[in-house]
């Protein structure tokens, strides 16, 4: 799965630690999501979408 979390975080001017704190996860989790090594659970994906104020399908796209 591809995602735009890094771009959206950059737009907000947040560090990975800032985003991790807002999502109540570890910095490693944010890094793993951004690099595409870990696909978040549905509740966490919704939390990310709500935080950035975008629909979930705009942030996360199915990979090939």
């Amino acid at each position: 799965m591809n995602n735009h979390v890094r771009d959206l975080r950059g737009e907000q001017g947040w560090s990975q630690a800032d985003l991790a704190e807002r999502l109540e996860v570890s910095r490693q989790t944010v890094n793993a999501i951004e690099t595409g090594k870990y696909d978040p659970s549905l509740p966490l994906a919704f939390k990310i979408a709500k935080l950035f104020g975008r629909p979930i399908e705009v942030i996360f796209e199915p990979g090939e």
Binding site: A20, S26, R27, Q28, T29, A32, Y38, P40
Partner: protein, 155 residues
């Protein structure tokens, strides 16, 4: 113009400082919680070893069946507490940390199970089996390696 640039640089420096401080504080908070859990687990593990020693040393001097059973099962109390603390620690983790932990625990649990069956089969065949202490230490080392391996997968 130069004054404006200097002000801008000062503001950028300040913002960078704030960001670094936030990062450090977030890490410290998560670290504090982890530290408390580790301390509780270490204390319980120590209590387990003490109970094990007491049970081992006291058991040969007891005659009554009830007393022997009670002393033999003495290490069970810290074991139950350790299991409860481990479950709590896993539940407190975020989802990726929990996944890493569960992979490591799955490796250790499966290895322990298979190791026990292998030892039992060897014993039945009249072959010498490795000591329980070796298995105890080996599983600890295996847990460490399994965690590292699982963590590297997501780094």
């Amino acid at each position: 113009m130069r004054g404006l640039r200097e002000s801008w640089n000062a503001m950028e420096g300040w913002m960078l400082g704030v960001r670094v401080r936030n990062t450090i504080e977030a890490d410290e908070r998560a670290g504090d919680q982890r530290m408390r859990m580790k301390r509780s687990e270490a204390t319980t593990l120590l209590a387990y070893f003490v109970a094990l020693l007491v049970s081992y040393a006291w058991l040969p001097h007891l005659a009554g069946t009830a007393a022997r059973v009670a002393v033999a099962l003495l290490p069970l109390l810290p074991i139950v507490l350790l299991v409860a603390l481990s479950v709590r620690r896993v539940l407190l983790m975020d989802e990726l940390e929990r996944r890493i932990e569960l992979v490591a625990l799955a490796v250790v649990a499966t290895t322990a199970w298979l190791g026990l069956v292998t030892c039992w089969l060897l014993q039945r065949a009249g072959m010498p089996v490795p000591s329980a202490l070796l298995g105890f230490c080996g599983l600890g080392v295996l847990y460490g390696f399994a965690r590292r391996w699982a963590r590297r997968h997501y780094a």
